[in-house]
Amino acid sequence: MWNKPVRRYMRDALPPAVLALVAVPLAMHFEKSLGPLGKSVCLALVMLCYGWCGWVEFRHLRQCDELRRRLALEAMMLAFISAAGIILTLFFANAMKLLDVPFSAALLVMLGCYVVCEIWARLRYRYWALL
């Protein structure tokens, strides 16, 4: 069903994804009962999952064909420009007391921009393979 690079990607991505799925709920569940050291360990574990997932994604992208790499480059560049613009605008709007946007909105803005830009890039090249 899957070709060799995709099978390899799935095999590489599974351990950090499972670890993240276990670590994040556990960290959130025990957050109140933990001391500063425990919280630091939880945070480090979550960051480890993030870094591991990021490394797997990066390695996979380097092995993809050149159009897929171009698509990722265009989507990420546009997402970065648009997300930075929106976050900067919200930051200034907050500073000028025009809005009261929570810090967590930045993550949603980044994810939203990335999804929109990825769809835009895929539409541009008509590239619908998932991985």
Binding site: D65, E66, R70, R124, R126, Y127, W128
Partner: protein
């Protein structure tokens, strides 16, 4: 950039998937090259030229 990839592929009666497999790229990449949405890198252009047994300039030519 204009190219003759579709024409050359047609002469050999290969599908886009066949050509993609021979070039070790995705079928979408072949489609994007044929429709002129994407210009291949120099290594891929050389690979295409070698596969069809032609010089690069006889497959790819500068467009407007």
């Amino acid at each position: 950039m204009n190219n003759r990839v579709r024409e050359l592929r047609g002469e050999r009666e290969w599908s886009q998937a066949d050509l993609a497999e021979r070039l070790e790229v995705s079928r979408q990449t072949v489609n994007a090259i044929e429709t002129g949405k994407y210009d291949p890198s120099l290594p891929l252009a050389f690979k295409i030229a070698k596969l069809f047994g032609l010089a690069i300039e006889s497959i790819f030519e500068p467009g407007e």
